[in-house]
Amino acid sequence: MYIIIVGGGRLGYYLTRALLDEGHEVLVIEKDATFSQIINNELGSVSLHGDGCEAATLEAAGSGRADIFITVTGDDEDNLIACQLAKHKFNVPRTIARVRNPQHEKVFKKLGIDATVSTTNLILEHIKHELPSHPLMHLLDIQEKGLEVVEVKIPPGSTTIGKQIKELPLPADSILSLIIRKEGKPTVPTNSSVIQAEDQIIAVTSPESEDELRAALIGE
């Protein structure tokens, strides 16, 4: 695949190296001539010196035949504009943007960017994972379908312990996929499965129903 990356900072550099290792054709567009030169010296002729928000640069980069366009500069606005240019002027099928301000994730999606990655959110998720008190964790985003895979831990003392799944007021767009019991045995939940203390329940849900799902599972 031909992958264009805008932003040759540390993130862009390591991303390029990893994608080259996987056998893809990669080009990094970098504003700073020195950085661009360093990348070329270290990784072979894979960097183009220029502004990724300008049509002329994207033209020279051969954006018209790119399969994926990724923006990883430090500025959200630059990442957005470069992706929109790639999408609307060069018809790149898939655009992915790095987002600094986590609120901008929904803005970018609304404005037609195919996927976003927020470092702030990723770190936040990791922190939540480490905190045992947080009963709902995100395991996976299925961005294009607007769904996510989450894990809910049943704390001892939950009002739902001893109840059957069918008794719980689960949101319509959430599906329980797996229950991992305290002793580590995974089972596929049925309507008559009984909630036990310290169960880990893996579910697929829409982000909007997340709170409702958590409340239904642990009781409040």
Partner: protein, 142 residues
């Protein structure tokens, strides 16, 4: 001074002839010496690296057969190759490394850019990164 494997990048300028001639005189002293004449076609990013750019390839073939003729007149055999690359300089260096070249010989034409003497991008890159000796053949009045 003897060289065994000489790389002569040819660009299709008037300096090519002199460079091949010089390579022949440096190589001749030893029968086993090899001369490689290469032409690098820079491929713009809008095309894949292995795209077949017909007019460019035709031109490259002409340039290389010209080089072959000049060498033959001087009793030297030349191995020729067409390379496609994003940038010319690194392509020359890669080729020199791969073929274990001990001399890169480049013909230089006198260039002026906005009134200033200018070596371009390729020569300084080769000088900076060459894994072997480099001779720049600067020919006056061509």
């Amino acid at each position: 001074m003897e060289f065994h494997r000489i790389l002569v990048p040819v660009a299709g300028t008037k300096a090519d002839e002199g460079a091949i001639e010089l390579a022949c005189s440096l190589a001749k002293r030893k029968n086993k010496s090899k001369i490689f004449a290469v032409h690098v076609i820079p491929v713009e990013r809008s095309l894949p690296l292995d795209a077949e750019i017909k007019p460019e390839i035709g031109r490259a073939e002409d340039i290389l057969s010209q080089a072959e003729n000049i060498a033959q007149e001087r009793g030297c055999a030349v191995e020729t190759d067409i390379l496609q690359a994003r940038e010319v300089g690194p392509a020359i260096i890669d080729e020199a490394t791969e073929r274990e070249i001990d001399l890169i010989l480049m013909g230089v034409t006198y260039k002026k850019h906005y009134g200033q003497f200018c070596l371009g991008d390729i020569l300084p890159y080769v000088l900076k990164n060459a894994p072997c000796r480099v001779i720049l053949d600067h020919q006056i009045d061509i």
